[in-house]
Symmetry: C2
Subunit: 429 residues, 2 copies
Amino acid sequence: MDIATRVYNHKWKIDPIVRSLIDTDFYKLLMCQSVFRNKPDTRVVFSLINRSDKVPLARLIDEGELREQLDHIRSLSLSRGESTWLRGNTFYGKRQMFRPDFMEWFEGLRLPPYHLERRGDQYELTFEGSWPEVMLWEIPALAVLMELRSRAVLDDMGRFELQVLYARAMTRVWEKIEQLRDIDGLSIADFGTRRRHSFLWQDWCAQAMMEGLGDKFTGTSNCLIAMRREVEAIGTNAHELPMVYSALAEDDAGLARAPYDVLSDWHEEHDGNLRIILPDTYGTKGFLDNAPDWLAGWTGIRIDSGDPAGGAETAIQWWQERGEDPRAKRVIFSDGLDVEKIRELHGQFADRLNVSFGWGTLLTNDFRGLVPDDALAPFSLVCKAVSANGKPTVKLSDNPEKAMGPAEQIERYKRVFGVGHQESMDVIV
Amino acid sequence: MDIATRVYNHKWKIDPIVRSLIDTDFYKLLMCQSVFRNKPDTRVVFSLINRSDKVPLARLIDEGELREQLDHIRSLSLSRGESTWLRGNTFYGKRQMFRPDFMEWFEGLRLPPYHLERRGDQYELTFEGSWPEVMLWEIPALAVLMELRSRAVLDDMGRFELQVLYARAMTRVWEKIEQLRDIDGLSIADFGTRRRHSFLWQDWCAQAMMEGLGDKFTGTSNCLIAMRREVEAIGTNAHELPMVYSALAEDDAGLARAPYDVLSDWHEEHDGNLRIILPDTYGTKGFLDNAPDWLAGWTGIRIDSGDPAGGAETAIQWWQERGEDPRAKRVIFSDGLDVEKIRELHGQFADRLNVSFGWGTLLTNDFRGLVPDDALAPFSLVCKAVSANGKPTVKLSDNPEKAMGPAEQIERYKRVFGVGHQESMDVIV
């Protein structure tokens, strides 16, 4: 596959960006199955949020082209081979991870309509529908916007100029891989689907990791790439679950319980490496302090916001307080990683925990400095559940810069979950 | 075309390196036509000479693979499309550059046998036959040995490691092109066939030059690439002509005349930009001092050894002495060029002459420093006419490091051509 040639060809014919319903993150499918069982009728709205105002998406991306890409995604359905792979594969050592009733539903699924409107230099893009259906829009919507933005920037470049751009980007990724190779006992996965430069580029990065890191590369969050490249599909669960459960809570007591209800449902469905706590939705400290004892028996914790070393120390202390041995536990770091941070965190925690890394944007979209005006630098685009059955969702996380939701609800959540002062950290990607 | 994938594929099936009789330098065909007319029955021996002892070709390259490649070249004949291109094309503004009788002969040609023997860590590879037939072995023989050596070094590398190697090499070539782009009035051609890293790599470099340099890129010496990429085929004549003519001389007086006889034959056949003097075979200074006046009317001089700036000054002075205006003349630099040297020579001579550059090995084979032990660095391999009708050939050039031939004949030639002290210069490529 010659990426530069393919990008060049994009200039003269329409080329669908997302070509498969499983070109998405594995945890989306795991969560979808859980939602399909536990909350199938909840009406949820997902909305695109560009946290980087300086990237004027609506000036860069033609609305017609965006509609074509989104319409194409609505035409997709699960192919026979994809269904076979989901039904027949072993995920995290378990066969038939996906139940027959879920698979039958998924095989019949087409994604629900989208609502697109230009607002100044940004697009308002929302998806409304039943939760299990509408949640599957998140990753393809992000991937389409990211890649259309890449194409817009690349559009003026000559074919060999493009090839050299990719040559430089490949060299950069490979040099990162060469540095990671030297870390003993490293365990790292590709988590870069949502904010990738392009599909082909993510596929290239994943394959380079396979060759360059061998066993240290544990797999990819992207199901299509996992299937094609015959590596593990990696992922567990995300903020979406506690956000929607919490929005649905009838009162403050229900709200306080909601994040644990999520994991209680999850506990019934999954064991082993899928029992990973994502504790930061409404502040890690309070979440762990108030957690039921059975949660301390789970396999690990994913740290996705705030100071990662501080988060890992908090987790270690919590396990020790609950009589668990941290060395039998796993911590997954997945927020804003690059080589230096990975090396540092690994050095700090590898002999105290099982450490692994979900490496996202700076694996699959590190084009920083490669074109004038840094026009290909990654930026912070998200697509989040913003309401459930008409009630707004809230996310706090361990970094106030990542907080989302109406101001008065944020205050209420902070009160209910006992969140005090939080350190503010730049959100790069 | 994805070079890394192709190189990777070389590991598991035989892949011919030279696939066309016109995958050769244009001047070979021009000289061949001249020889076909003027000296068709001369028996000539060409021989491979590795001036870089430190590259143990016979240890790197399997004899069986080398034979397969050479045998494949013997199976080639001119294709219909190639013949049409040679017959129908305009070269240097002239239609029907190749005469019908020559084309008919060329269409029927198969290359004559080769003689291959291992001697220690080197191969002895010779070609014997009628001059017009055997001379066409030079370029494909060199290209095969260069590329088999590249493949031998690349053989242990993984697919993505290979891709990154090419990414680095592409970036390097592109950065050179970006520097050359800034030189006003530059005129540069690809002369890198014989010592290229590989065919696909030369093809990539030529295309990158097309895109990156626009009109500053005047064409390529490689006929196959010129045909496929629709650029000019570039070249005139080489040392081979005076070397064989001189070897055939009956006595010292004939020897002294031989280099001018060559150009007299050439003068009858060609005009304009093809009338380029290559004066250094037996020393530039003596050659020009003794040259007949009609030679000063030729279009230009190619400088292929010795100090290039000194050579250009000698040419300017000579033209002035003969009443010619150097600003109407062309000097082609073609020895050991890289970006710095090109920039320097251009700056020094562009307002005194028409300057152009034939950029060879450091365009199509600059893999210096990209693998351990610098095992892909270019090296100095040549394939030369070593005898004609049983008499040894001699080359002196303007650099004693490039002298070739039996010692006593070298002394005789120096005496006949009045060559005194010569500055020795390193031969890198």
